[in-house]
Symmetry: C2
Subunit: 202 residues, 2 copies
């Protein structure tokens, strides 16, 4: 196995462990064990833990971009693309109830550590934000596309955090349904932030 293969395995193992156990709680030994590597050899590939974190963030950004590109390919309309985003809450519900959102929880942890990479991690949100804003603009909401993008991003984060604490799948489903209904009502001519109306889909 070449060095670049080993490196990739290390980053993928670190990615998973950082998500499941947190950045601080994951030791070099944990990652080395997951890859089947001695601790000593580990340092041939990565000199510091922060270096691994940087590689993990880069991997996540690449994966995110690939996912967004795929949604853009697969879904013909902007509304369906945004719906792809909303429905990752359902798709990943088991992991979210156990470990939260990979992006939100990493940003939270790095913020508390005041880690040098905290802004790099926050860029993951930026990718979603800009992609979502583009979809809302395509939906005819050019004027407030960014506000709408942040709003739906905010809701997905709120659902993830509460889902982890409550571990209630019904809660996720209800809120996703509400997000779908909210999206259906986003048509040109509406003003930015969501307002309640006289009927509901639930």
């Amino acid at each position: 196995m070449g060095a670049s293969d080993t490196r990739r395995h290390i980053i993928e193992a670190a990615d998973r462990l950082f998500y499941e156990n947190g950045f601080e709680a994951t030791s070099f030994a944990d990652i080395a064990k997951a890859v089947g590597l001695s601790r000593g050899n580990f340092y041939y590939h990565f000199k510091t833990k922060d270096e691994i974190l940087g590689a993990v963030i880069a991997l996540r950004i690449a994966k995110t971009q690939a996912m967004l590109d795929a949604w853009e390919e697969d879904a013909p309309t902007p509304a369906e693309r945004i719906r792809s985003f909303i429905h990752i809450l359902i798709m990943n519900r088991a992991k979210i109830m156990a470990y939260g959102c990979p992006v939100g929880t990493l940003c939270n942890e790095l913020a508390k550590l005041d880690h040098v990479s905290k802004d790099d991690a926050a860029k993951l949100f930026t990718h979603f934000r800009h992609w979502l804003a583009r979809q809302f603009a395509a939906l005819g909401r050019e004027a407030d596309a960014d506000t709408l993008a942040l709003h739906i991003l905010m809701r997905s984060q709120g659902v993830a955090t509460l889902a982890t604490a409550l571990r209630d799948e019904g809660f996720i489903r209800r809120e996703v349904e509400a997000m779908d209904a909210w999206l259906d009502a986003q048509r040109p001519g509406q003003l930015s932030l969501p307002q309640p109306a006289s009927r509901s889909s639930t």
Copy 2:
């Protein structure tokens, strides 16, 4: 200074440090230093870190209950009480942008650690949930009070998480305004989850 005073100081220092730096990242030495205590003496008061965590969670629950009771005293209508809850996002915006929501971030961290106290921490949400549900019921929304309580709790969590990542005060203010507008529209006869309407307050 008596032992119970020292104990209280330890818990308060731990409360602050767990919030600002995280549970794992906070060492006994950090807490001892903050209180002005030797590390050795520390163990006279608390045997394990988990014991301190338990005391911190108990303190937070007591403080939360006191805050909810005060809101109930000070605000004459259910709507104003719920507004008190929504506006902690503005009141605490500086700390939230730096460290996130104390409840959400602690639950997230303990979930990843699969810590024995993770469900105790989640009870903090339960206190807000039931209090909010009581207010929505008093507002005339008995049928879906709990759903509405979880919805507004979810939004406050989402705003806190994104605020920490983006550190954008304008974002917080816009979303709080939207939450206020959403609350204004919650009247008896509405069905549970929020829907957009034809106009916005922003």
